[in-house]
Symmetry: C2
Subunit: 218 residues, 2 copies
């Protein structure tokens, strides 16, 4: 059951308005997506409601989002041996995921976004304790800003052969300064060994995003 193009447009318009702190009317939503008749918008709203994306009270400005305002929890990530994260490696499903993930932490993304565009944050549940030295415990929710690279020494969510792990990112040149670049994924726990990977090797290493924050609820 996927959304039509227009339904997706309307849903995103509502999310955009809500992120601005507004509570839209039917006609305002219509104006956002270029629909002149409130009746047309209403048909779409009804469909979105049936699909479970909205609640509609019937009163004025009665459209309520069921998701899309917090930070989506898109899966789990290993602090230890890499485990599969929800949408790892599935770039196509990614957009859908970020908007309509199964679960969401009702936290204003602005808490973790310093001036960056909204919508690029995801949360991952930590499994394992290889990062306790950085104050990241088993069960914590780490906030990851999606980006393809990170700086030397930053903590990153990294995909190793499609499986996610949370480690400190270090890049070290091979011998002689011109050899194959290497990546070292360093844990923050003496009981774990760093993972070293030659980039020209057979293992696939990709930065999924940068660690920008953490939420713990006990």
């Amino acid at each position: 059951m996927s959304l039509t193009e227009k339904q997706r447009q309307i849903l995103e318009a509502i999310i955009e308005l809500v992120r601005r702190g507004e509570v839209p009317t039917v006609r305002e939503i219509g104006a956002m997506v270029g629909l002149r008749s409130s009746a047309t918008v209403q048909k779409h709203l009804e469909n979105l409601r049936e699909a479970g994306y909205l609640e509609v009270t019937g009163k004025s400005r009665g459209v309520r989002l069921r998701r899309g305002v917090g930070i989506p929890v898109v899966g789990r990530i290993a602090a230890g041996e890499p485990i599969e994260s929800h949408d790892a490696g599935d770039a196509d499903a990614d957009d859908e995921f970020r908007l309509f993930g199964f679960e969401e932490v009702p936290v204003d993304p602005g808490v973790f976004n310093s001036g960056t565009a909204p919508g690029e944050l995801v949360a991952l549940r930590v499994r394992g304790d290889s990062m306790v030295g950085a104050g990241i415990l088993d069960g914590d929710l780490v906030i990851i800003r999606r980006q393809p690279t990170v700086e030397e020494g930053e903590i990153a969510a990294v995909l190793v052969d499609g499986e996610g792990t949370l480690k400190r990112w270090q890049r070290c040149r091979g011998r002689g300064g011109r050899g194959a670049a290497r990546v070292r994924l360093r844990p923050e726990n003496d009981r774990f060994e760093p993972i070293e990977i030659s980039e020209s090797g057979h293992r696939d290493v990709r930065v999924y995003g940068k660690y920008v924050g953490l939420i713990r609820c006990r």
Copy 2:
């Protein structure tokens, strides 16, 4: 410039409605506080707006709270030697504080409240690293649920002679099982020593609240 009783009532009514996920109208607010005329409510809203508590758009359901929906940051707390927390020991200013604190983390309190009544959570900025063993770092924002006692072994914000510190709470009977009860405040860092206090002694020890969560933004 403090609020009149009626203004306070109205402000709290709005906060209550917003916490329920509603966006109130002038008349709905009036109904909450027992005012029959929308004109009366509007005068109060205008005053609250001038006092900086609200924004009013003029459109329908156009009342916006400037604070009161997130978790208030009421001060700093030591993970190390006790330091003064914002409203420590000032029970009278407490209610005002919790509603209208200087700063607020825009986080749904429900994230940290499991079934408990809303409004009793505060956030404190951690200073020091005596709790790194529990994954609580310098600069973290700890979420504290206000309560007068905690269970043995739980982490608590404790007031020692009016100054706040974050430690693991342990109660130990004095010699012979009937001696003066003692309190031990145990840090989670080998470089710090526990604080031991005899309850019958001259030092004032009070639990400020229980550590229920943490937010870190880097």
